[in-house]
Symmetry: D2
Subunit: 293 residues, 4 copies
């Protein structure tokens, strides 16, 4: 799609962040211009509170290795001058994504469907579950390897080592916790920092502890929601990528809340994963900058 | 509107709650039928968890005192049999409502406008503020008496006594805290229980303490919301009547959140007040049953 | 679920409509009370414009054939008196549903998933497509028979006859057009009236003709939506059951609109089917009464 | 707010559109850098269908006349090279806005309130109505001149001439039709092209002719909406700036739809006016590019 065999054009996404000062945009735009790049999308954000500057640029240019190497060298030079952190992705290269799931598979089924019809530009590297394969009998996993990694209190450290090995062996760039109900340890969370997306319910007001939909029902809330966020060592409190809500009423039983919650969870997670795959999310301390579409 | 001079029909709203058991609906419907009443709206809810039953009925019948007295006596008899709590309101009689405000007047202005164009069937009895009249110079309060009741830490008890006297003198049936930023004491909250509606911001996750919109901004939330609830002794935690949210992004400054918050607050409070005035809200322990339209 | 083996209780949904006049609710409630029925949900609507009255009642009572026969006889008697059309469904009996699909299978996949996890109380009787089985290679259809009924201009009448036979042979009570892109003939639409749900895109303003998402894009709309409705002879104009929208912007290409459209279509269709299966929808001329949850 | 007396910094918004080709961003960014400008917001959009490029840049730089003149000359030179249409606004200069209203004043009241509390950075130059001043007795118009310009079929041309004179005499840069129910003539619409915002209801499907809320009610729609757009000679069909919807049900009477419609209309119009005042809207043929916040 992003490779045009005739002209050998490739499309790239460049993201960057740095302390804000005059000249950054000019320097970047000039660099891309000198590389014969044509900017097709650009979004910027200047965080006046932290003094940080964020930018996402989509551009096309000739797809030969020499050109790309030259461009990377030039970007390095600009980056050194402005203390820029940057990433450059060829949009034709799909990210490698490891999917994790527990008993409830609505998010997994949804992500696989969106991947299959071409909506999520990723390569699933593995499906990891803490339940055996037959729990998901009705899911066509195609060629994606399935790994059953059960977890018990005294085997948790070992299970996480196997999981981490799997991430490395499969060269997975992103881990999606598609309703994986085990809390990751602080050390694994730290290793996966900014590379692991989780989904959880959220309510107004919030509820701690078990059976949150039942708590929300007991409180009589009129809205229920879900939040997708990056995993950090601090459970359920990582940088928020996306949120959404749905209306509920006194007619809704706790089961109805769970049902409506499923719908919110899958669409919020799918949006967050798509934003990540499309390099639309940049970390800004405990927050995110999301250049939406 | 609800009085037809020709046939002298009046329209009533009956609300009731009681322990659920067979025969309630039949008993009520038969009673109204015997009073020559014609049911035009009816909503019921059976809370299977608490075993309580809730009902709201709108009906019209001949508007003479004798008939009404007879009907009330019959409803008393049915109520005794089923341990029903009930209220019966002639829909032509507007509720008397006392409005309270602090510095931010967007909810007050909105409620007065909706009242003026006939959207809120109420009679404002007083506007009470802890700021002087000229704070609201641009608001046309018409004939509604304005009361400046300033409050300081050591005068709070006295101020609340004056407020309570005002509620009684004006026969106010409902107090609306239209962004009145003083916390009511537990004793006044108890006196006003179920008769006082408050509006406050709400977020996913929630934030305690001062400058909540700034906290929400610091956390990077993607949605902000507002909750209208009945006041109880337990601050900001009374039974929820209505909630709504709006989407925000990293572009939104704390001031933008406050601006969007104003829009949500005024529409959520207006809906909650309208539901109350239309007898659509019935208390169910710490929750509400809201028979929406 | 709705059968309690100990007490042999069954749960029923009664829906009815009739010209409004006093006494209907009392007559129905008394009848159910005499059958030892316990009403757990009841919703009513009085259409003051047409003078019609609509009611949905969920109740439980002893599950023996004699009792049910007696109840049906009594309901017949009440119905005769008030000119009531009514239906009574044992909630333990799942509706038989025939699903139709064309090339785009997102709605079909979604409905099957919701059925599998118990969200949609139905029995799929057949999946009918105008594309061969391998178009849907990744869909686990379980035991549901698949029928490939291709259609061409000169075979349309014959294809519809086969379809109609299938509906009858399978005793299907509902046909769901899950993005079945063939227009049904007027005669088949008439046969399926009130028993066939369709989903289509909708926009503000509306667009006629081919490639509607492209037309909407060309017009620069800021919202796109979908409508689920009963099929009538009048294409895309049957009684509306449910609608929803999503926000779009100038950044969205026609393909993005199609992608967002898929999300709206599947959730709007799923809600409409659930409302139908739960006897929440009653026809009111060219409109519907939907007793939502 | 945008003037800092110490450093004499001013903040500007630059908007531009032109045929897309490489080098535009670099040229603009370099020009602003050479003017010692600091870019704080920048948004771009490349319309691949039309080949047009759109950009909005907010930047601050030293506020002296010489510097500004130099910058404008440089921008002219860049514009000539790339065939750019551009505008440059000092954000401290409020736009002059003429407000028009008919009988229903909910949008006018809302706009005035938002202006008064500082939410809309504009200077109202006049309020023009086709009803006399006492129709709006409860509205505090402060110092804004009120003009009663009644209109009848044979006086329409004359009335529009008076209106146009008023626009010119008051140097109004924007006309807001805040539920002004008279259709502007093609010639006046052409004169005001891109400078006049209108608000009207919108439905799925759409309805032509009188009493649209009644038509929508008769059709049984489940959503009602409103659209804000620039006025063109083609009634109700100008480039769309903003849209929103609200959910309705069979319980809603036509009057309820009108009430809900008021809420949607006022918030959609307020957003559209704010976007315009903040230079967030750029015309793109029959569409708009809206760089939202």
């Amino acid at each position: 799609m992003t490779q045009d065999p005739a002209s050998m054009l490739a499309t790239y996404t460049l993201t960057l962040s740095c302390p804000n000062r005059p000249g950054i945009v000019a320097a970047i735009a000039t660099t891309l211009f000198e590389a014969d790049g044509n900017i097709t999308e650009a979004q910027q954000f200047d965080d006046v509170e932290t003094g940080l500057f964020f930018m996402r640029v989509v551009f096309s240019c000739r797809a030969d290795a020499e050109r790309t190497e030259w461009l990377r060298a030039r970007l390095d030079a600009v980056a050194a001058r402005f203390r820029i952190s940057w990433t450059l992705h060829d949009r034709a290269q799909r990210r490698r994504v490891l999917l994790m799931v527990s008993k409830f598979d609505h998010c997994l089924v949804d992500l696989l469907y969106r991947w299959r019809i071409g909506e999520l530009p990723m390569t699933p590297t593995a499906i990891v579950a803490n339940h055996p394969r037959d729990t998901y009998a009705h899911i066509d996993m195609g060629d994606i390897p399935f790994h059953y990694l059960p977890v018990a209190q005294d085997t948790k450290a070992a299970q996480e080592e196997r999981l981490w090995s799997l991430v490395q062996q499969t060269n997975s760039e992103l881990v999606v916790l598609a309703r994986y109900m085990q809390v990751l340890s602080d050390s694994l969370s730290a290793r996966l920092s900014g590379q692991c997306i989780n989904i959880h319910h959220s309510f107004l007001p919030g509820f701690k502890g078990a059976r949150p939909y039942h708590q929300a029902h007991a409180r009589g809330v009129k809205l229920i929601g879900a939040t997708a966020h990056y995993v950090t060592a601090d459970l359920d409190e990582g940088p928020i990528i996306e949120q959404d809500v749905e209306r509920v009423s006194h007619f809704d039983t706790p089961d109805d809340l769970v049902r409506k919650g499923r719908d919110i969870e899958r669409r919020v997670l799918a949006r967050a994963v798509r934003y990540h795959l499309d390099d639309r999310v940049i970390l800004n301390g405990h927050k995110t900058v999301v250049f939406g579409d």
